[in-house]
Amino acid sequence: MTREEFAQLCLKKTVILDGSTGIELIRREMKVTGSIESSILDSPDMLNELQRQYCEAGADIILTPTLGANRVKLQEYSFDGSVRELNRELASLSLKTASSFSTEVFGNISSTGRFIEPFGDLLFDDAVDYFREQAEGLLEAGVNGFFIETMIDLQEARAALIAVRELCELPAVVCLSFDKEGYTLNGSSPRSAVVSLQSLGADAVGCNCSTGPAEMIPIIQKMATCTKLPLVVKPNAGLPSLKSGKTVYSMDKNEFLSYIPNFHKSGVSLIGGCCGTDPGFINDIAVQWSNKVPLKRESFMASAIASHRTITQFGAGNFTLIGERINPTGKKDFQKQLREKDLTTIEIFASEQQEFGANVLDVNMGLSGIDEREMMLKTISLLSRISPLPLCIDSTRPEVIESALKLYPGRALVNSISGEKDRLEITLPIAAKYGAMLIILPLDDNGIPATFEARVQVIRKIIDEASKYGYTTDDMVIDGLVMTISSDQKAAKTTLDLINWCADNGINSVCGLSNVSFGLPQRDIVNSAFLALGAQRGLTSAIANPSSERLRKIISSINRKGCRI
């Protein structure tokens, strides 16, 4: 099944998934020694029976019984065989059962149970390797797609999705588990999750396990506001309760079914069950919903970036302030600290800028005599833990950008892509791989075009080039590239014209405000005045120092009035 076929299927009908596998097998008293996964190999007929029932019940997609079949989990059971082989064998069982039906089989991948850097001690690259190992086994058996689920941490979901995307172009569905309050165990929000996963190339996103259907409705509604992807739900049969020492799910299928109209209304395209659901649930869902066409969701939030906790959307009436302070240029003490790998000031800059209303933090580690890549990764790790704000990765080195985007547990903004040959040929594909949003700089190998028209030409060229990687202008913020008026009085006008052009074309724009006042007295006033003039023409964001009171006054006036786009 291609990604396009999957997308079409999700548009055409409500896609029916299967119900519980592992828990249902245990309920059916399958003998378990060690991990469930290896135990299944000893009772292949029970799996065949269960999955045949799901197929007969009308499931369009069933999942391989490989939920815990990753190296980390299996090691808990002292598994000493080949992870890859185990996954291949288990997937083959499901594929064999499904071969008599028109049912697709998706390879199931789930949590290692450990926290991944920057939140835990499992290295991100190692996590990607473990998931790759599992996915390779599933792929060898011939699965039709992947289903990454029950993830309690956005960062781990990213690692699994990156592993799958590096291997193949099959459809990949990603579901996280949220608690009643609407956060994953590690604090990822539904919006952050979908913005990040969508940009990384997920084909559908949603939630499974953890709660019953009622609690999932608000979560799915939040997700629906910021993705164009098909939405998935796989709730448990209610909340678990302990009965005579056993965890049981007490919701019957009629009650379970009564929530589905709400999911449908919220725009869900794929429905199945998790813990406590069985082929009977799936049968009833399929009978009632299989032929229903999912609702079309007209609008969704474009132009958003995300930390693992919050999102920042460009445009849509709000002005976005990108805090510029985490940058050693011209800061002697900060430079000295960075040379000693001391991150104290970064912590202070981050919290101060947040207090002053920054919506995004720019991170630049360009300084002679330090390892830019190492310091960038250290800073990202620190900020991911201490700050809820999404980051803007500011570097000219492709290798720094690549490492940063890979590690960053969210969707970052890249500062910047210009029309220079190496940026287009090296940096752009890297940014595209991780689905980063882009700051577009209107200059090329011939320098900064002097006129507005020539700048627009460069921008069009970059947009064309980026569209080859699936980018749209929603994923871009165009830098007005203002120069100081102290050496050229027309500099400000050229930038204002460009901002106007961006707004007319519905594209977000940004400006490094302080450039405009280089060499002038009272730069703060000039910068703030330029911000106001920019906002009148439709400027939607600025890179600036948020500690300026004047600047904040202007921004609050802009927000009271609302941005043009």
Partner: protein
């Protein structure tokens, strides 16, 4: 559309007649008579004159009624009941003869002063002109021309009177100004334009008093602010006294040589006054045959005049602030107060009145008599609508004083005022924009930027210091503050004390030009100095270099900023260009201090900083070879060796390209290049300089000069 605008649309340019009186004398009119009464007796004379003008190419001729008002005619006749008929008949004589050409009824001064400056009641003056205009219209004229006016209040009376009688016919006004642009009574031409065009004249311009050269300069002053067609009717040059008689000697050829310049300056209705003949008009016609006027620029502009001077602003100028609270130029008053102290307002202190609206009748009386454009402060939409027709008639500027937001947010209210005024399509008060409409001080800083987006030239209100700071910044950022002069003087002043002028003001003009960055005066200053016998070398050593040294010091002390540094450096460079050939001729043994090869390194295209350093080094007597930007290490080192450079100066702005500096150092060492290497740019510092083994680092252009001097021990 009236007939004047129709014709202008079709023809582009309209040609008037020349002098009438002198032509009549040639046809037998004796001196000392009333021309009006004489022509009534001798109608063929005027017909002959006007035939000649039509044949020469005039599109419009004036009726012979210059002195046809009752006050002038009273000197010649007792039967003042005939004034209407005299004008009617004279108009008819010209019109019957015109065979398709246009005749404008001519009106001119009464010779009396009008209140508040003289005895004649304003309403009486209006009556005098209404009577004459009514007669002219009854005689069939196509329009009224009010000309040779020297008194603003009389001009207003004539225009109001003429408009009452003229109906749909156009009424045009030309006044008489001296070469400095003032009427005999001291009204500046811009102020006159402001008042007359807002009062509803269909065209405005100058006639008489000066020749074409002087008048052309006056037209250029008003052209950017005029929204009605401009007229010029100059004399045939300046008058000369020959044998006790005033004569105008400029020939037709010379006179007409200005015609195209008038059109280029914005004039579309052109003719001649004293001393011009059908011959002059014929030449003007020839000069303008098929000449297409260039489109007038439609810049938004605002001009508000008193009987003395005008305050002006266009969308290209710094925002004009009308501070309604301060007693400096504007003064709040009631309609009564203004009437009671007209002379105080108009003459002694020359305030622009800000009239608080009380009632319609009272306001009407006051606006009628006030000789200037008044501001009217209204408090709400109702008052605004009531005042509108009066403001229209008298050309007053309405602004909303504390206009409270009735619905919606502050900014909606703000938008409403602009839109509302635009909808009225009356220029008189489109562009006055009121600060107090924005309730929150904080929002004002931002909302004012809307004026710049909409290219609005004027703001009324009582701005805070903070807001004034923002206004100079907005002006600078939108190109309305040329050379950033206002920005530097306001923002710089509040930051630190400016360099005191007193101790340097008596210095040499060349020195001052460089110190103040006046690149427009350096050439003259140097030429004067050379004429006075100063040797070129001395100019360099004693004025140019000391001045740029002071500029450098001021820059380091943060008393000067980048714009001043660049302006001074540019001025100095201009000076050098003049002196260079002379210095060579002087066989100047003075050699350069050293040779610098400068470049922005490979991969880097930022060269603003590098260019400034090169300019400064040149000014400080270095030979500079500027290789440009994005230059590889080999090219730089080869150039240094080939030219025996003392110093290689490298610039880089990016962390990715700064490493190229290291490559240059290595290449230079390998090649055995002796030049010292200095670096600069936003990302590099002394640490980096040490790290790559360069010989020096500087953080700005001034420091770079000192570094270079130190390295070669100048």
């Amino acid at each position: 559309m009236n007939i004047l605008n129709q014709l202008l649309n079709n023809n582009g340019i309209l040609i008037l007649d020349g002098a009438t009186g002198t032509e009549l004398s040639e046809r037998g009119m004796p001196s000392g008579v009333s021309p009006e009464l004489w022509v009534l007796e001798n109608p063929s004379s005027i017909r002959s004159v006007q035939d000649d003008y039509f044949n020469a190419g005039s599109d419009i001729v004036y009726s012979c009624t210059f002195g046809g008002n009752r006050i002038k005619l009273a000197q010649y006749t007792d039967d003042l009941s005939a004034v209407f008929d005299i004008n009617r008949k004279l108009a008819a004589i010209s019109k019957e003869n015109s065979s398709g050409g246009l005749v404008f009824g001519d009106m001119a001064p009464t010779g009396k002063f009008i209140e508040p400056f003289g005895e004649l009641a304003f309403s009486e003056a209006v009556d005098v002109y209404r009577e004459q205009a009514a007669g002219l219209c009854a005689g069939g004229v196509d329009g009224i021309v009010i000309e040779t006016m020297m008194d603003l209040q009389e001009t207003r009376a004539a225009l109001l009177g003429a408009k009452e009688a003229a109906g749909e016919r156009p009424v045009v006004v030309t006044m008489t100004f001296d070469a400095d642009g003032y009427t005999l009574n001291g009204t500046h031409i811009l102020s006159a334009l402001s008042i007359i065009q807002s009062l509803g004249a269909d065209a405005f311009g100058c006639n008489c008093s000066t020749g074409p050269a002087e008048m052309l300069e006056l037209i250029k002053i008003i052209s950017p602010y005029s929204r009605i067609p401009l007229m010029a009717k100059p004399n045939a040059g300046l008058p000369k006294l020959i044998d006790g008689k005033t004569v105008f000697t400029m020939g037709a050829e010379e006179f007409s040589s200005y015609s195209r310049q008038f059109i280029d300056a914005g004039v579309s209705i052109i003719g001649g006054c004293c001393g011009t003949t059908p011959g002059h008009i014929e030449k003007v016609k020839q000069a303008l045959d098929n000449y297409k006027p260039s489109a007038r620029s439609e810049k938004k502009s605002f001009v508000i005049g008193t009987v003395k001077d005008a305050q002006v602003s266009s969308a290209d100028d710094p925002l004009l602030l009308i501070n309604t609270e301060s007693g400096d130029k504007y003064r709040k008053c009631s309609a009564d107060e203004l009437r009671d102290s007209l002379v105080e307002f108009c003459i002694h202190n020359s305030y622009i009145p800000v009239i608080r609206y009380d009632n319609e009748a009272n306001l009407s009386v006051t606006l009628n008599i006030y000789p200037g454009r008044a501001l009217i402060a209204v408090k709400n939409q109702n008052e605004f609508q009531t005042v509108l027709p009066l403001a229209n008639k008298f050309g007053a500027v309405i602004f909303a004083d504390g206009f409270s937001p009735e619905n919606g947010s502050d900014s909606e209210c703000l938008t409403d005022i602009i839109v509302c005024c635009n909808d009225i399509k009356n220029e008189n008060y489109i562009y006055a924009f009121n600060l107090s409409a924005i309730e929150h001080e904080n929002d004002r800083l931002f909302e004012i930027s809307m004026l710049y987006k909409n290219e609005i030239p004027v703001l009324a209100g009582n701005p805070s210091d903070d807001l004034c700071d923002f206004i100079v910044a907005y002006d600078a950022l939108t190109g309305r503050d040329k050379k950033l002069e206002n920005l530097m003087s306001r923002l710089h002043q509040s930051e630190s004390k400016p360099a005191s002028d007193s101790d340097v003001e008596d210095k040499d003009p060349v020195y001052m030009a460089v110190l103040k960055g006046r690149d427009n005066v350096i050439e003259n200053a140097i030429n004067d100095s050379l004429k006075n016998g100063t040797a070129p070398g001395k100019i360099v050593d004693e004025y140019l270099i000391p001045a740029i040294n002071v500029v450098g010091d001021l820059y380091e002390k943060k008393e000067y900023f980048l714009p001043q540094l660049i302006m001074s450096a540019d001025t100095m460079r201009k000076g050098f260009q003049i002196l260079e050939p002379l210095l060579a001729a002087e066989n100047s043994s003075k050699s350069k201090d050293g040779l610098v090869v400068i470049a922005t390194v490979k991969g880097d295209i930022h060269d603003i900083g590098k260019n400034i350093v090169a300019l400064m080094l040149r000014n400080y007597n270095f030979d500079v070879i500027d290789l440009g930007k994005d230059i590889d290490d080999k090219t730089i080192v080869d150039a240094a060796i080939a030219n025996k450079a003392d110093i290689i100066a490298l610039s880089a702005l990016m962390t990715t390209t700064m490493v190229q500096m290291k490559t240059v150092v290595e290449t230079a060492v390998k090649a055995g290049c002796k030049a010292r290497i200095i670096i600069g740019g936003a990302v590099v510092d002394q640490n980096y300089c040490n790290e790559i083994g360069a010989d020096g680092y500087s953080s700005d252009a001034m420091e770079a000069v000192k570094l270079a001097q130190r390295l070669i021990q100048v």
